[in-house]
C-alpha cells in the first residue's frame, strides 16, 4: 500500500510540475524546469536572465516600479522572444520571408524577436484550448469576446489594464477609449478589440437583374415588409428559384437581434430593447419585435419564398446565389458590402440596409487580441501589441505579405498582385483584415474604395451607442443556466426563425421552456451586473 501511495505521489508531482512550470513563466523550457521546481528563471533563455538583473521582469509587482521606463527600449539586452498568434485565411507558403521582414522592424524598433504563428480559424478552434492549458510558447493571441469570462476564470489571460497607461497609449489612441472598454470585464482588461466594423445592421442582398425584371428598384424597399410584394413578383416570374435563403442563422427574425437589441453578452438570454436605450433587461423572445419578425418569416415560408431546408441549412447565401438558385439573403451591412457581395456571388447585387447602425459591446469585442498567461514577459508583449496597432508596415506584412513580391501599390493607393502573380501563386496573401489587428492602418486591396476605412470610421462616429456600451455580462455565476438555455435555444430557435412553424404557438412553447431552464435567473443576474456597472459610470 505504501508503495502504491508513493507512486501516486510521484505521478502527481511529475504532472503537477510540468503544469506549474508553465505558470512560473518559463514557457519555452517548461519541461526541463519541471524536474527542478526551484530553478525559477534559472533555465530561461539568456535574454530573460539578463533582464532579471535590472528588475524589469520577474513578476507582477516589479512592473509597477518600472512603469516609467516601460516604453524605453533597452537595446543592450538580449532581444525578448515573443510568439504572436494571429488568424489567417490560408496556410501561406512563404511565412518565413514575412517573419524575417517583420523581425527586421521589431528588432530595430523594439528589440523584440517575434515568432509568427499564423493559424487558420478551423485549426484554431480545435487547438487553442490545449495551447492555453499547456506551457506552449504564446504571448499574443486572438479570441472571441464571448470567451472573456471563461478565459479570465481559468487564468488563461493576463490583465492588460496595469500596462495600459505605460505602454498601451497607442492602443487607446487607435481603438478609441470607449471601444477599448469593450475588452474589459469586471475591471479586467482581457484584450483589446481589433479594428473591424463596430455596427451590425441587417442588410438584404438582392439580385439586381431579378429585382429590375420584377419592376422594382432599391427605392421601393425601406423595411423588410416592403419585400413581400417584391418576393411575390419574382416568385411569379421564376418559380424555380428560392426567393430567400442562406444559412439558418441568417433568418430575418434571427439577424435583427444583432441590430435592434443589446444582448449584453452576444447570447440573447435577456436583452436591452430599443437599441440599448432602455436599461431594463427584458426577454427578447417575448417582445413584439421578435414576434412580428417571425410572423413575417412565417408568411414568406407559407408563400413558398423560403427553402424548406432553411432551418438546417448551413451553406452561406453567397454560395447559393453564386450557384444561381437564390434571389436574396441577409448579411451584416458594411460600407463596402456591395463590392464584396458582387464579387462573392458573381452577380450585380442591390444591398439594402433595413435597420440603423448601433454600437453594442458584443459587436466591438467580437474579436479581441489578448496576452496569454504563458507569456514570459507580458509587458514586452504589450509593447509589441501596442506597436503593431500603430505601425502600418506591420499590418501590411501580416495581411498582404512583402511589397513588390506579394503585392504592388497602384496609382490610386490601393494594392494588387504584381504582374504574373495570382491568388494561387502568391507566397503570402491573407486578405483577412477583419481578423487582423489593425486593417484600418494598412493598404486597401484593389476593387475597394481607397477611402474605405474612413467610411468605416464615419459609420462608427455616426452610430447610435447603446447605454450599456462597454459593459459585458459575466456568465460565470450562471453557467449552469446558460448551458441549459443554450440547449433549449438550439432546439427551438432555428425552427421558429425559419418560419416553418406557426410563431404564436411555437414561441409560447419556447418561452415556457426557457423559463423552466432558468431564464429569469440569468436575466436577474444580468440586470444586477448591469446596474452595478451603470452606477460606476
Amino acid at each position: 500500500m505504501k508503495m502504491k501511495r508513493r507512486l501516486a505521489l510521484l505521478l502527481t508531482l511529475a504532472m503537477g510540475m510540468s503544469v506549474l512550470a508553465g505558470c512560473g513563466g518559463n514557457a519555452g523550457t517548461g519541461g526541463d524546469t519541471g524536474t527542478d521546481g526551484s530553478g525559477e528563471g534559472g533555465s530561461t533563455s539568456g535574454g530573460a536572465a539578463s533582464t532579471e538583473a535590472d528588475g524589469s521582469t520577474g513578476g507582477d509587482a516589479a512592473s509597477g516600479n518600472t512603469g516609467s521606463t516601460g516604453v524605453e527600449i533597452d537595446f543592450d539586452e538580449e532581444p525578448y522572444e515573443a510568439t504572436l498568434m494571429y488568424w489567417v485565411g490560408n496556410d501561406a507558403r512563404d511565412v518565413d520571408s514575412v517573419e524575417e521582414a517583420f523581425n527586421e522592424l521589431t528588432l530595430s524598433q523594439l528589440n523584440i524577436k517575434v515568432n509568427l504563428m499564423p493559424v487558420t480559424l478551423g485549426t484554431h478552434a480545435q487547438q487553442i484550448q490545449m495551447v492555453l492549458s499547456s506551457d506552449d510558447d504564446l504571448d499574443i493571441f486572438p479570441f472571441y469576446g464571448g470567451n472573456m469570462g471563461s478565459y479570465i476564470d481559468a487564468d488563461y489571460i493576463v490583465d492588460m489594464s496595469e500596462y495600459m497607461d505605460t505602454c498601451g497609449q497607442d492602443l487607446i489612441r487607435v481603438i478609441g477609449a470607449e471601444d477599448v472598454e469593450c475588452g474589459k470585464m469586471n475591471g479586467f482588461q482581457a484584450g483589446v478589440p481589433n479594428m473591424h466594423e463596430r455596427t451590425n445592421p441587417t442588410m438584404f442582398v438582392l439580385r439586381t437583374d431579378l429585382l429590375e425584371e420584377a419592376g422594382f428598384t432599391a427605392e421601393d424597399i425601406k423595411t423588410a415588409e416592403d419585400l413581400t410584394p417584391v418576393f411575390a413578383a419574382v416568385k411569379e416570374k421564376h418559380p424555380e428559384i428560392t426567393i430567400f435563403g442562406g444559412a439558418n442563422s441568417s433568418s430575418y427574425a434571427g439577424a435583427i437581434s444583432g441590430a435592434l437589441v443589446d444582448a449584453l453578452d452576444g447570447k440573447n438570454f435577456g436583452v436591452l430593447p430599443n437599441m440599448g436605450q432602455d436599461t431594463t433587461v427584458v426577454n427578447w423572445y417575448e417582445t413584439d419585435t421578435f414576434m412580428d419578425a417571425c410572423k413575417l418569416m412565417h408568411e414568406w415560408y407559407e408563400a413558398g419564398y423560403v427553402s424548406a431546408d432553411f432551418a438546417t441549412c448551413t451553406d452561406p447565401g453567397e454560395s447559393l446565389m453564386r450557384a444561381g438558385n437564390l434571389f436574396s439573403f441577409i448579411t451584416y451591412g458594411k460600407p463596402n458590402s456591395k463590392a464584396e457581395k458582387d464579387a462573392m456571388t458573381g452577380y450585380d447585387t442591390t444591398c439594402i440596409k433595413v435597420t440603423p447602425d448601433v454600437c453594442y459591446t458584443q459587436t466591438t469585442n467580437a474579436l479581441l487580441y489578448g496576452i496569454s498567461s504563458n507569456s514570459e514577459d507580458p509587458e514586452k508583449a504589450m509593447i509589441l501589441l501596442n506597436w503593431i496597432y500603430a505601425t502600418k508596415e506591420a499590418n501590411d506584412l501580416l495581411n498582404w505579405g512583402i511589397e513588390g513580391k506579394d503585392y504592388v501599390v497602384q496609382e490610386d493607393g490601393t494594392i494588387d498582385y504584381p504582374e504574373g502573380v495570382t491568388a494561387e501563386t502568391a507566397g503570402y496573401h491573407q486578405d483577412y483584415g477583419w481578423a487582423q489587428m489593425n486593417q484600418y492602418n494598412s493598404y486597401v486591396w484593389t476593387g475597394n474604395a481607397p477611402d474605405v476605412w474612413e467610411q468605416y470610421q464615419q459609420i462608427r462616429d455616426g452610430a447610435t451607442v447603446s447605454k450599456a456600451y462597454g459593459f459585458f455580462f459575466d456568465t460565470t455565476p450562471v453557467l449552469n443556466e446558460i448551458a441549459a438555455l443554450t440547449s433549449v435555444s438550439d432546439e427551438y430557435l432555428f425552427t421558429i426563425t425559419s418560419g416553418s412553424v406557426d410563431p404564436e404557438t411555437a414561441i409560447a412553447e419556447f418561452n415556457e421552456k426557457l423559463y423552466s431552464a432558468g431564464l429569469q435567473t440569468v436575466m436577474d443576474e444580468k440586470q444586477a451586473q448591469l446596474d452595478a456597472w451603470l452606477a460606476e459610470q
Binding site: 480545435q126 454560395s319 458573381g346 486591396w445
Partner: protein
C-alpha cells in the same frame, strides 16, 4: 459440403441476400464519388444524384492546387500506418497471448488493468501536457504514431478471446508435457493459429492510423509532417471558415471554391488509396483465414 439440390438453393439464396447487402453498402459510396465530380451549381440546384447533370473536375483541381504537400502527406500516412500497425500488432498479440493463459497468476488483475483504460480517460488536456512537455513529441513523426493508437485494450481483448476459443487448453498441456516453454508455444502454435485475428485486428489498427487526423491536429504544426487526413481535414475546416468570414472584395475567390463537391472529393481522396490497396490486403486476409482454418 455435399452438392445437393438443397445446398445449391441455399447458395443461391445467401448470394442474393449478400449481393443486396453489398449494393446497400456500396451505393452511398458511388453517390459520394459522383457528387465529387459534379459541378457545384448542379449540386446546389438539383441536389445529389447518381448521375449528375453537369460533370466537373473543379473539386479535384482545387485540392491539387491547394495541397502541394498532398503526395508528401500520403507518404507520411503510409509510413505512420505501417510502423504503427506493426508495433501495435506486436504489443497487442504478445500481451493477449499471455492473458489467454488461464493459469497465469494475477491474470484477472492485469486484464482489469487493461480493460479499465477503455472506461476512463482524463481528457485531452492532460494527455497533451504529458506528451508535449515530458516526451517532447510535438512536431515529430512520433506524434502521429505514439499517442492513443499504439496499443489499445480493445485489440488485446479481441486477440485474447480468439486465442482462448481457438487454441484448446489441451494443446498447451500436451506441449507442456513435451517440455515446450510458453514462449515456444507462442511462436510455434499461437502465432500461426492466430493469423486470422491478426489480420483482422491489423486491419482495424491500420485503418485507425489511416483515418486519424486528431494527433496531427494537436501535435503537428509543421506542414511537412501533415498526414493526409490532417491535411484534408484542415482543408475542409479552412474552407468553411474562409467562406463564413470572407469580407474584402477579393475574397470572391473564396466563394468560387466548390465547397460541396470539394468535401466529397476530399473524402474520396482519403479513401481512394484504401480502395486500391484493399484487394491486395484481401488476398492476405483470405489466405490468413484459410491458413487458420487448416491449422485449426
Amino acid at each position: 459440403m455435399i452438392h445437393s439440390k438443397a445446398n445449391r438453393r441455399y447458395q443461391v439464396i445467401i448470394n442474393i441476400v449478400l449481393l443486396l447487402v453489398t449494393v446497400i453498402m456500396i451505393a452511398p459510396l458511388v453517390l459520394l464519388f459522383m457528387s465529387s465530380v459534379s459541378s457545384e451549381a448542379s449540386l446546389l440546384n438539383n441536389g445529389y444524384s447518381f448521375w449528375p447533370e453537369e460533370f466537373s473536375m473543379a473539386a479535384y483541381q482545387y485540392i491539387l492546387a491547394n495541397g502541394q504537400t498532398i503526395f508528401r502527406a500520403y507518404g507520411v500516412t503510409v509510413v505512420v500506418t505501417v510502423v504503427g500497425t506493426v508495433i501495435n500488432l506486436l504489443l497487442c498479440s504478445m500481451a493477449a497471448y499471455s492473458l489467454s493463459i488461464q493459469k497465469l497468476p494475477f491474470r484477472n488483475i492485469i486484464s482489469f488493468f487493461i480493460f479499465f483504460t477503455m472506461l476512463f480517460n482524463g481528457g485531452l488536456v492532460p494527455s497533451y501536457l504529458m506528451w508535449t512537455s515530458t516526451f517532447h513529441i510535438k512536431n515529430t513523426i512520433w506524434a502521429l504514431i505514439v499517442p492513443n493508437f499504439l496499443c489499445g485494450a480493445m485489440n488485446i481483448i479481441l486477440i485474447r478471446t480468439y486465442f482462448m476459443t481457438s487454441i484448446p487448453e489441451a494443446l498447451y498441456e500436451a506441449a507442456k508435457i513435451d517440455g515446450a516453454s510458453y514462449l515456444y508455444i507462442f511462436r510455434k502454435i499461437a502465432v500461426p493459429m492466430g493469423v486470422p485475428i491478426f489480420v483482422t485486428v491489423g486491419l482495424f489498427s491500420g485503418l485507425g492510423y489511416w483515418n486519424d487526423w486528431t494527433n496531427g491536429l494537436y501535435y503537428i504544426n509543421d506542414a511537412k509532417l501533415y498526414s493526409i487526413q490532417t491535411l484534408l481535414n484542415k482543408m475542409i475546416q479552412d474552407i468553411q471558415a474562409l467562406q463564413a468570414n470572407a469580407t474584402a472584395a477579393s475574397s470572391g475567390a473564396a466563394m468560387q471554391i466548390p465547397t460541396v463537391s470539394v468535401r466529397m472529393a476530399i473524402a474520396f481522396v482519403a479513401l481512394a488509396p484504401i480502395l486500391i490497396i484493399y484487394p491486395f490486403l484481401q488476398k492476405y486476409f483470405a489466405e490468413g483465414i484459410a491458413m487458420g482454418a487448416v491449422k485449426g
